[in-house]
Amino acid sequence: MGEIIQEEKGKKGGKRKVKKQSTRIDMTPMVDLMCLLITFFMLTTAFSKAKVMVITMPEKDVKDEPKNKPQIAANRTLNILLTGGDKVYFYQGLADPKKPPLPELIKSDFSKDGIRKVLLLRNKELFTKIAEYREKRLTGKMVVADTTADNAIKNFKKEDRKGPIVLIKADDKTKYKDIVNIIDEMAICNIASYAVVDLSPVEIEMLKNAPK
């Protein structure tokens, strides 16, 4: 498709000019190819990098005697027991077979009014503190750098003496996503201290007799 430029004919019909060659190049194939390449690169580029959730587990130490284990206040302990199929059970305190009666398992789920409500209720003070801090930053009442804010929130969590200490325990039927979900809930509810630990034999029994 060469460009054809119609030349104006001399009005007085003078000399015939040599037909001028057009200087324009047809760019359509080039544009086609570029379109193709751009589409290709756009689709193959990994734009959104993977997000990660960081979890630090307590160090395993074989020499650690049971008596050296950190003592946790029973009234602050919240045990969350996971078992397959979107079921969450929780109980307060410690389940010690030597000290009956055993605490009762309460059934919950992953919905907004499920375990989150329980966690928020118990962690109200710390949650409000952190949420207010974040809101102040968002609305521009307080201008601080990201790292400063992170540190401040970390300090809030460190100083917290009232919020629950959550122990997450999962049985064999649990799916990986349930674990991720519950750790995520911890992040959403700003829980200061939580750990993923193993089920004790008593708790396995308790799960068997748990309300369906």
Binding site: E3, I5, Q6, R24, M27, T28, M30, V31, M34, C35, L37, I38, F41, M42, T44, T45, A46, K49, A50, K51, V52, M53, V54, I55, T56, M57, P58, E59, K60, L82, R116, K117, L120, L121, K124, F127, T128, A131, E132, E135, A170, D172, K173, T174, K175, Y176, K177, D178, I179, V180, N181, I183, D184, A187, I188, C189
Partner: protein
């Protein structure tokens, strides 16, 4: 009054600005493109609210597929001269008394995730047929008698001391497998895990706090 004749318009559009823009975009995409590495198994990660980005380099990733197969990947490091993958394969070879040719080492250096018993690595590296290569990916064995994954992790930790560990598990994987891998990692003094997740916003506002 003479009629005003509208000048004949050329039916052609000037494409130069368009071409300019396209070349600009093309250059941008070509330079920024980092190709998605081919993964050994399709994995759908669970979602979380975490917005932290996975590090680009110095990352050791353990993939756990839906059926409990385990795959492993480590990058070559930020500095191209470090060749962590080649070094790692050499070390593993020493451990299992397998010698790899320089060509095999180099090929391993350019690959990404893998998951097969160590004895199959050689045939995987030398196999040209993609279908057979895929069939060889049966997962890294981690039985208590011959825990090869533990050796991969241990030697990878020694090869690249600053490597962080990422776990990329399928949402439907059984927790027992994940726990086994986590225990194994903890035995190798890895206590910080990066769980790879999808971002899904979920926020609780101040007014949502139950009274």
């Amino acid at each position: 009054m003479p009629k005003i004749k509208a000048p004949a318009r050329s039916p052609h559009i000037d494409m130069t600005p368009m071409v300019d823009l396209f070349s600009l975009l093309l250059t941008f995409f070509m330079l920024t493109a980092t190709f998605r590495p081919q993964e050994a198994a399709p994995i759908t990660t669970p979602s979380s609210v975490s917005e932290k980005q996975a590090p680009d380099n110095d990352l050791m990733t353990i993939f756990i597929s839906k059926d409990g197969k385990v795959f492993f990947n480590i990058d070559n490091g930020k500095d191209t001269s470090t060749h962590f993958r080649m070094k790692l394969l050499e070390k593993i070879g020493e451990q299992y008394k397998i010698t790899f040719t320089p060509k095999e080492l180099e090929k391993f250096g350019t690959m990404s995730s893998f998951g097969m018993p160590i004895k199959d690595i050689k045939s995987w590296l030398n196999e040209g047929d993609a279908k057979i290569r895929e069939k060889l990916q049966v997962g890294i064995p981690m039985d208590s008698t011959d825990n090869q994954l533990a050796w991969w992790v241990r030697l990878a930790r020694l090869t690249n001391v600053s490597a962080e560990v990422a776990l990329k598990g399928d949402a439907e994987t059984n927790y027992t497998v994940v726990k086994k891998v986590m225990d194994l990692l903890q035995d190798n003094k890895v206590n910080k895990f990066n769980l790879v997740t999808n971002l899904s916003k979920d926020e609780v506002l101040l007014k949502d706090v139950p009274k």
